[in-house]
Amino acid sequence: MLDALGTLARLGLAAVWLISGVVKISDTGQTYIAVKAYDALPSSLVGPVATAMPLLELVLGVFLLVGLGTRLVAVASGLLLLVLIAAIAQSWARGLSIDCGCFGGGGQVSAGQTQYPQEIARDTGFLLLAVWLLVRPQTPFSLDGWLGWGRGNSVALPDDYSGESYSEGN
């Protein structure tokens, strides 16, 4: 049961990052405008952040999808989500009228069209997935499992230990 929930959390968060990453990288101009609209970065950093954000999201998504370094990726995901939530919150607090551009779009919107509470609630939901994976990173169908990571000892004795010893005895 916990395994199933963990796998759902991992694949769910992977889907979040992959989808938002693909949408962002397929419209780099819009992503630049979205980052700029937060008005939180010096203009020399807007471009690099707009370039890095979708790629970082895609990398996190791929790692989660294959289940490699799940705990570390969960930490990175959580930190990124905290940064995004903080960015949305500061826009809200300062009275900016922007769309978060979380899944494409973004930039200025008219005053009545902001959706700050919904955006923060959604990102908090994603944050819960990351926290789950941080606490319990072991999931089935993951590279971590295949590599024997996350089961305590990374070099476990093979199951057929005794059988092999007899076959080799002479």
């Binding site: 101009g29 819009q30 024997g148 005895g169």
Partner: protein, 259 residues
């Protein structure tokens, strides 16, 4: 027997380690490929953002040749195009960076120029730097607006205007540099050195901004988009009042003026 078992056990451990090593190598290769993809992504993104760099802006071939008798004149920061005596007059507010303005031009540009050539329509073109911060680097809206006025001074406004819209840079990306705007004017046959000087100096920038401030404040130019009235581009105004761009709007404007 006991010693043999120990040897076998250590072999098994070594074998397991060897298997782990292969797995780790496979994972490292995977991660390296991913890293290469990221570097590729950075290069691709930068290339796409700077797609307009080093380009020569092509001269638009779709635009109507301006008919004999059509007068293009700059009045302040408004360019008026039409034959003397044209009965209908519209004001068009547009930004060379605004994607919907590009759509508007694609959809109605030819019709508008046909009416101008027919002597039925006079158009007052307002270049609006609404999206001046939305190119990277900033400033394309203003530079292109100023350059279009310089082109009007040289009598090449319509061709310049149409070429910029036909090859519109994307919002959020690099626009065209002043040098590229100058080159376009030269390709259109502008030889007066004042053209390049006007573009480089940003001669009309202040006037464009002053007019833009007035435009933003004008309640007659505001329209309801979503919540609350606000000014947006493109806006078409008749008699100083913004109109809806519903099907056949241009014909209706012409018909009314003939009436």
């Amino acid at each position: 027997m006991r010693r043999q078992q120990q040897v076998a056990a250590s072999r098994a451990v070594a074998k397991a380690r060897g298997g782990d090593q292969k797995k780790i190598i496979a994972v490292v290769i995977g991660v390296a490929l991913l890293a290469a993809a990221v570097i590729g992504g950075v290069l691709w993104t930068n290339a796409s953002k700077n797609a307009t760099a080093g380009q020569t802006i092509p001269v638009a071939t779709t635009s109507q040749a301006t008919a004999a008798g059509v007068v293009e004149s700059r009045q302040g920061v408004v360019v008026v195009a039409g034959k003397p005596g044209a009965k209908a007059t519209i004001d068009i507010y547009a930004d060379f960076l605004c994607p919907i303005c590009g759509e508007f031009q694609k959809q109605y540009g030819t019709q508008i120029e046909q009416q101008i050539n027919a002597g039925t329509l006079q158009v007052r073109y307002h270049m609006v730097p609404l999206l001046n911060t939305r190119s990277a680097p900033e400033g394309y809206s203003m530079d292109s607006a100023n350059a279009a006025l310089a082109a009007a001074d040289a009598g090449k406004f319509t061709a310049f205007h149409d070429s910029l819209f036909a090859n519109q840079p994307q919002e959020g990306k690099r626009g065209y540099s002043k040098a590229q705007l100058i080159k376009l004017g030269q390709d259109l046959g502008i030889t007066n050195p004042a053209f390049a000087q006007t573009i480089n100096a940003g001669t009309y920038d202040q006037q464009i901004n002053a007019a833009f401030d007035q435009t933003l404040k004008d309640p007659n130019l505001q329209q309801n988009v979503g919540q609350g009235a606000s000014f947006g581009t493109p806006t078409v105004a008749v008699g100083g009042k913004a109109i809806q761009l519903t099907q056949g709007w241009l014909d209706q404007v012409i018909a009314k003026s003939q009436g």
